[in-house]
């Protein structure tokens, strides 16, 4: 018991804890690492918290990530605009980035493609590309920031998503706009409503004043300059206004869901 009390002196256990953590780090594969990796048993001992044995690092990280979603939603200021840049600042060539190579990128036929609209909207009509091109468009030159860390400045032109949501009579009190895309292994991503209604969030039809090329998401991309790149879906096929969190391609693999910038 006396020895136990000694171990509870702040500091002693933590050094051991760090050493344990460091030891368990190498050579673990990605999923295994988060799941099996570091038991917080030592921390439990240290703090005296009553935590069950199944309390794993993975569960803790998931909970903190959810907490971070909430913090980011609170930090999100709908009136804060992403910085804009002169055209001379545009990154050339603008990088192509996906989980597949460019020659595997979806080839969507613009003549037959229709944007499907579902969920909590008054008008569920599908939209052809020509119809969408008739809507008023604005251009933005903003910084695209990838979750990997790199960034690039691009020029995107299209219709503010909030104008379109108004047009189709979307219930903007709903929690999400959920996008589904044509990427080969599927791609979808939920966008929280406050971000969807941000003035710079755009249904993008042009890149650098040209019709959106295949590399950047033809026929339609959702440009969200207040989000990391992976929250900017390309090759969009449908959108659903919903109160349900339906997950996303990267979000389900452990990337933070809000991922706001």
């Amino acid at each position: 018991m006396g020895r136990m009390r000694k171990l509870l002196i702040p500091g002693v256990d933590k050094t051991l804890l760090v050493r344990d953590a460091v030891k368990s780090m190498p050579d673990l594969t990605r999923r295994r690492f988060i799941s099996g990796g570091v038991s917080l048993g030592a921390l439990t001992l240290l703090t005296g918290c009553d935590v069950t044995d199944s309390f794993s690092a993975e569960e803790m990280l998931k909970q903190v990530s959810k907490f971070n979603d909430g913090v980011q939603a609170l930090m999100f200021n709908p009136n804060a605009m992403a910085p804009t840049f002169p055209e001379s600042a545009i990154t050339k060539p603008f990088p192509f980035n996906a989980y597949y190579d460019l020659d595997e990128a979806p080839e969507v036929d613009g003549k037959t493609w229709k944007l499907e609209v579902r969920g909590l909207v008054e008008n569920k009509k599908s939209w052809t590309l020509d119809e969408l091109y008739q809507l008023p468009q604005v251009k933005q030159v903003t910084r695209h920031i990838c979750v990997e860390g790199w960034s690039a400045i691009g020029s995107w032109t299209g219709t503010p998503l909030r104008d379109f949501l108004k047009l189709i009579g979307a219930d903007t009190r709903a929690k999400y706009v959920w996008f589904q895309c044509a990427d080969k292994d599927g791609y979808n991503s939920p966008l929280d409503m406050p971000s969807a209604l941000h003035a710079q969030t755009q249904m993008t039809f042009k890149f650098g004043d040209e019709i959106l090329p295949r590399a950047y998401g033809f026929p339609m991309k959702i440009r969200v300059p207040t989000k990391l790149g992976f929250k900017n879906p390309k090759y969009v096929m449908s959108m659903e206004v919903t109160n349900d969190y339906k997950g996303g391609f990267w979000e389900d693999q452990g990337y933070n869901s809000f991922s706001g910038s």
Partner: protein, 209 residues
């Protein structure tokens, strides 16, 4: 400066005097733990898009892949920030920063550096820092503040765009964040080596005396 504090007198009556009070020890080791998590997960994130022509060996990164590294980084940041804030507040409120780290004079730093390099620096009184220690400890606190602020700028380059602008925008903040990490790692190497060379200083940071 060298005045014995009231709490020290009480402690001295019982046993030897306390060199590192309990709050310092608790915050120090919590910080060490959080820092190791932040640095190792930070290396994982760096590897996804290296700023320079090298990557960190997989074996010394945390998280297994980018998403795991990010989860660790954005979890440990709370521990680091909350612990660091308590440390700053306590450092000012208790007068520890003033008593322990000030004044820092160029002459003192130069003479103590010479003494250190020739092995003549005294470690008899661990409750008093020499000028090299004062400079490095004060400096690493500043670096610690900078790495948190540049990290916040990277996390929220739109919401905190004025903060990001201080670092030269998003890309500038990446470099500031990286070099602060490099400074902290360099500090840690020296810090750990010296602590092992003067084991009683390590003991003081563990049991206080």
């Amino acid at each position: 400066m060298s005045a014995v504090t009231v709490s020290d007198q009480h402690a001295a009556s019982a046993k030897a005097k306390v060199i590192q009070p309990a709050w310092v020890r608790a915050l120090h080791w919590t910080n060490a733990f959080a820092m190791v998590l932040m640095i190792m997960s930070g290396w994982q994130i760096y590897n996804a898009s290296p700023l320079f022509g090298f990557t960190f060996p997989r074996s010394i990164t945390l998280g297994g892949w980018l998403a795991g590294g990010l989860l660790w980084h954005f979890a440990a940041m709370w521990l680091l920030m909350v612990n660091g804030l308590i440390y700053l507040v306590m450092g000012f409120v208790t007068g520890r920063f003033r008593k322990k780290l000030l004044p820092i004079t160029p002459e003192g730093v130069i003479s103590d550096t010479k003494a250190a390099l020739t092995g003549k620096l005294s470690h008899d009184d661990l409750s008093r820092y020499n000028y090299v220690q004062k400079l490095l400890y004060a400096g690493i606190i500043v670096v610690g503040i900078l790495i948190v602020l540049s990290g916040l700028a990277l996390w929220k380059p739109v919401q905190l765009q004025y903060l990001a602008a201080l670092f030269g925008g998003y890309e500038g903040a990446r470099y500031v964040h990286f070099f602060c990490m490099a400074a902290i790692v360099a500090f840690m190497v020296v810090h750990v080596v010296l602590a092992l060379l003067v084991p009683k200083s390590l003991r003081a940071m563990i049991i206080g005396r």
